[in-house]
């Protein structure tokens, strides 16, 4: 799980693994590791600390990863644009592994500000995009199940 800080990586993981959600923002330091079974596949989810303007994603945490979930906040356009830079770092360290994109916080429809042009440019990379809501659970299961399937293919 990689992306900018406060985009909801931990929330998505916790929703999927433990079916819990908290509105309170608590930053992740380093990496949190969770395990879950998806259709006979054991997913070890590495929830990596978010990128901020001063610290890039620590790619050491990506070593050994079979797939990546790129996470952005749909109410903060910069976090979506930053996915391209983040992916460059990921690809440089572990190669072109299966990847899915979560545009999270879909429940905040008033503040949603992802342009169609940006969505198209994400599609152009060949990534499957999911408008997720960790709060309401929308598309969360599909997101991880799709990645698991892509890894197994």
């Amino acid at each position: 799980m990689v992306g900018d800080f406060s985009v909801g990586k931990t929330s998505l993981t916790q929703k999927f693994v433990n079916n819990v959600f908290s509105d309170k923002y608590l930053t992740t330091i380093g990496v949190k590791i969770d395990t879950v079974e998806v259709d006979d596949t054991k997913l070890i989810i590495w929830d990596v600390a978010g990128r901020d303007s001063l610290s890039p994603v620590n790619v050491s945490y990506l070593v050994g990863a079979a797939g990546v979930v790129l996470v952005a906040d749909g109410t903060r356009p910069s976090t979506v644009e930053n996915l391209f830079d983040i992916w460059s770092s990921v690809e440089k360290r572990i190669g072109d592994v299966p990847c899915v994109v979560a545009l999270n916080k879909a429940d905040l429809s008033d503040g949603w500000s992802v342009s169609e042009e940006t969505v198209n440019s994400l599609h152009d990379r060949g990534w499957e995009i999911f408008k997720t809501s960790a709060k309401q659970g929308d598309e969360v299961g599909t997101l991880f199940e799709t990645l698991a399937r892509k890894i197994n293919d």
Binding site: Y25, S53, G64, A65, A66
Partner: protein, 527 residues
Amino acid sequence: MSENTGKNLNNNDSLKRINEELFRKLQLAYFSVDSKMKVCDASKNLVNYGFPELKKGQSVEDKIDFMIGMDADTELELPVVSSPSGIPVSVNLMPSNDKLTVLISNAERSTEQHRMLQQAANENELLAEKQKKLMARLEQASKELEDKNQQLEEAARLQTSFISGVSHEFRTPLTSIIGYTNLVQQDLSKMSEEIAPRIVKQDNEQYLNAVQRSSKHLLSLVENLLDHGKLDSEEIVVNPKKTNLDELFNDVSLLLSPLSETKNIELNVNLDAPKGVDVVIDDSRLRQCLINLVGNAIKFTDIGSVNLDAKLDGDELNVVVRDSGIGIGREEMEKIRLPFYQVADTGKVGTGLGLTITERIVSLMGGSLSIESQLGEGTSVHLTMPAPKIEREIFSAEMGALPTVSKLKVLVAEDDSFIADLVVVMLQEKGIDVTCVANGALAVEMLQTKSFDLVLMDIHMPIMGGYQAIEKLNQLGNSAPIVVMSASATESDQERAAQLGCAAYLVKPVDVEEIISIAHTVTSPQQ
């Protein structure tokens, strides 16, 4: 056992103890695996971090999740990993000699400090992003508001322009209606009993009075609309000049007495001012305000009286218009000053502009207006405005005597045939020699062939308008005084006429007495 061997044993023991002490203090745990990721060795304290106890030969990937996908020959540092116990640990993978040793140390203290700093930094950045977003929204809202304001200003300007235009267009036919009604009234009064029997004459006089009253009412509505538009576009300018208050209050009394008489209401006008003193004030605007206030008071009073009391106090004029009318309820009090507002259920009609206009004019004159009223007990309107005193000049009877106008030769340039005929008849009745032309070009032509004592010039005419004709006449050295007679009451038109050297500016509908008075002034030898 040799002495050396004993020493070595002692050294190894102490090294082992030091190691153990170091591992204990740093809370270091470890395990090592071979190239097939099978456990070779492991510390017992792994369990302190929630990891399972590792036994030699076990596959590490089955026991420790973060080892899944790792190579035995990869050197790696994972600074902070959340261990199964929840304690953050630092993990170092160190390959050597076909073995991978993994060192795990407690990172709780450094992680907690890092978390606090990172949390604060991230929250600050989120706050900054929110602020940026809000600022952008604020800017957008401000821009939208500005656009809306511009649209509203444009709409208000168009509305004002429309009202002014319509009012202007109304004046011309009203001039005809009022003027011709006057003429018919005069003719009727001169008719003998044989031509018009008394009963018919009375009926006709009554009908004509009704036409006259309705026309004047319509004219006052138009005037109010026009003034409202002019106040909105800041076209009204106050022109204070020397004014005789006795005459002004007398005028108001004479003008409104017939209205109060028709309703059987007593109208009392009292002015308390030092004798022989004039004031500097815009007399026409003061007259307009008083007519509006007293007219309103009469309109809303069915029984009793209306009192207009004025007092010149130092350089301040205080006026009270008090009536015994229907009064104003508390709820209505706040609304009556709004333009076009009319108190419901009174059965009285109007534009709802009189009070608004009066208040705005009073304010322009540097004064203020207040209202006291109780429903069913009448209303008092208090008006205060600056009126600097000035000594009245005394004219002798000789100086004030007006020359006769009966021999005057007047040229009228007017394209509206109804108005032209009316003015001609009215002036001819006063013995004036009148020539009439239908446009400015004809007026110029006429003035080159014949001399006139006075020119009455309309502004909006076909072929050549009034201003163009005046400019032409100025170039030709015309000496006859020119008086503009127009339905346009805008300040800009009046200013332009003054700039062109016109002797006076009359706004339609004009009264014959007004023309005669101007004719006296502009043709008198003192001028």
